[in-house]
């Protein structure tokens, strides 16, 4: 088993402040099959950080491990100064780390309105519930038109909006998005990328997993590239974009 501890992380952009999220030497396996191996990443306050990589590279596994839905085999995950790798998922959400999984995991039989309401389950005060709701509606006005519709009957793009909206209702410090553009028509993809940017502008840090590397590098500060569970490249968005291997393998240039 490989586990070099805290100092094994490659920190491309060593910032002075401690990162909001620091993953160190993370290894996660499914029944013995290693999906993420010794991965270290940092996400600083206010950034958009992209994680890219081919199918099966371990991007989703990385996010699931951070969100507490999959248990890391080894490594340390620190969020907002607290070790979270052993915390149950609901406590991690409570700490301010929201996660929109690949398959969205909405409550399909419940209405749009109930899905959003459940997002603010942790809050009792009316103001804590209404302020984020207004923000969600201004980001995705079409959700407001469909409040009584069952979530399972929304289009793919609308479901993605609702999943992001529900995550925002938890009032996160960090929002992790797993391929929000997946299976969505191009016009809506632009809308979602624009939303991601404006979510960041309201002070929510973003960790974004995306296959559409070109578009996501345009809004990202930094990026990491995974390959078969290992980190093979990291740097600023511009550095990653100009990397010859990335250009060949992911950007098709």
């Amino acid at each position: 088993m490989r586990h070099e501890g805290i100092n094994s992380g490659m920190s491309p952009n060593a910032s002075t402040a401690t990162p909001l999220l620091a993953v160190r030497g993370l290894t996660t396996a499914y029944r013995g099959l290693i999906a993420v191996s010794d991965v270290s990443i940092d996400v600083d306050q206010g950034e958009i950080v992209v994680v890219a990589g081919a199918n099966g590279a371990g991007k989703s596994t990385l996010l699931k491990s951070v969100a507490g839905l999959e248990r890391a085999r080894s490594g340390a995950i620190t969020f907002f100064g607290e070790r979270i790798e052993a915390m149950p998922g609901h406590v991690i959400t409570e700490r301010g780390l929201a996660y929109v999984p690949e398959n969205r995991r909405l409550f399909p039989g419940l209405s749009v309105s109930d899905n959003l309401r459940l997002g603010s389950y942790l809050y009792r005060k009316r103001a804590d519930r209404e302020a984020p709701l207004e923000r969600v509606f201004s980001l995705f006005p079409r959700l407001k038109e469909r409040l009584q519709q069952r979530a399972g009957t929304l289009s793919g793009g609308e479901q993605q909006m609702l999943a992001i909206g529900r995550a925002l209702m938890t009032r996160p410090r960090l929002l992790m998005l797993d391929e929000p553009s997946q299976g969505i028509m191009p016009k809506l993809v632009d809308e979602i990328f624009a939303a991601v940017q404006s979510i960041r502008d309201t002070g929510v840090t973003i960790l974004l997993v995306e296959q559409r590397l070109a578009e996501s590098l345009e809004i990202a500060n930094r990026a990491y590239v995974l390959q078969t569970g290992r980190l093979i490249l990291s740097g600023t968005a511009a550095e990653v974009r100009d990397n010859p291997d990335v250009r060949k393998a992911y950007l098709g240039i």
Partner: protein, 292 residues
């Protein structure tokens, strides 16, 4: 048969049906929440009856006043059954449904054993109550007071349950957990807590029914059995997991039982209920109100 006696049969069937619905709805709730059939449901009813009985022996207060205490106590019993038994059964690596069947079945036998030990197999009853043995006449119909109050309690609790499910955060959390128990962590809900509260709620509802039943029925360690059987029929008839279905099916079972008791020997009245159930299973396997 005269119209008055028809109405009389209808009224008593309806009242008993409301009580059956109250007994069954907790079973349905727990099943809907986590796909677990609680084979100790009848024992929860029995525990509630003994709880009222013991409190009555000690305090001599009327069972109507003790009912809320028994209901609250059963809430604790249900939550404890989840935290202490079912939670571990659900961690089984394989054959989870078999493991949970045997776990709740074992719990049933355990509770019966405890009741047998502390209360002996003797039949007990609560005497000299406000309602016991009294009838109330409404528009020429004579209705037994305990059943009438029981029916009213059932209606009130069903309305309360409906409001809880549709209006409160907890109700939404129950529904969300039932839809996708793995996803509720994403909104900060602890599913174990929801499960424990769900079991508590389910047991509390059967607890309220048991408290009413204790007024007019004998209390003995196996008393839960026949009522649990009816509850399983009600839940299957109404659709597993459906609250409204449990209410409607409970009433149907009460009415069928009351009317067939008039037509055929009373000892055979259960046969009609099970025949109805079999018919429904063949025609609508998901129950009358179940999701298809």
């Amino acid at each position: 048969m005269q119209i008055e006696s028809l109405l009389q049969v209808f009224a008593s069937g309806l009242l008993m049906g409301l009580l059956y619905a109250l007994i069954a709805v907790g079973l349905s709730l727990i099943f809907g929440l986590m796909n677990v059939v609680n084979f100790a449901h009848g024992e929860f009813l029995m525990v509630a009856m003994y709880a009222v009985y013991s409190l009555w022996v000690v305090t001599l207060l009327d069972p109507v006043l003790l009912a809320p205490v028994a209901t609250a106590f059963l809430f604790g019993v249900g939550a404890f059954a989840y935290m202490g038994v079912v939670r571990f059964a659900m961690r089984a690596k394989s054959n989870v449904s078999m493991v949970q069947i045997f776990a709740t079945f074992g719990l049933a036998i355990f509770i019966q054993g405890v009741a047998q030990y502390f209360f002996t197999p003797d039949y007990r009853s609560i005497t000299d109550t406000w309602l016991g043995g009294k009838t109330i006449s409404i528009g020429g119909l004579f209705l037994p007071a305990p059943q009438l109050i029981g029916g009213l309690i059932s209606i009130v609790l069903f309305i309360g349950l409906y409001l809880l499910m549709s209006r409160t955060d907890f109700g939404k959390a129950l529904e969300a957990t039932r839809e996708d128990q793995g996803a509720v962590a994403l909104v900060g809900i602890n599913r174990n807590k929801v499960f424990a509260l769900g079991w508590g709620l389910g047991a509390a509802l059967v607890g309220a029914a048991g408290a009413v039943l204790a007024i007019f029925y004998y209390i003995y360690p196996q008393v839960g059995g026949p009522f649990a059987l009816i509850a399983y029929v009600v839940v299957a008839l109404g659709g597993f997991g459906s609250i409204f279905g449990a209410l409607a099916a409970g009433i149907i079972v009460g009415l069928v039982e009351a009317f067939t008791a008039v037509l055929i020997p009373p000892s055979m009245k259960t046969i009609a209920v099970y025949s109805l159930y079999l018919a429904v299973v063949f025609i609508r396997p998901n129950g009358l109100f179940g999701r298809l």
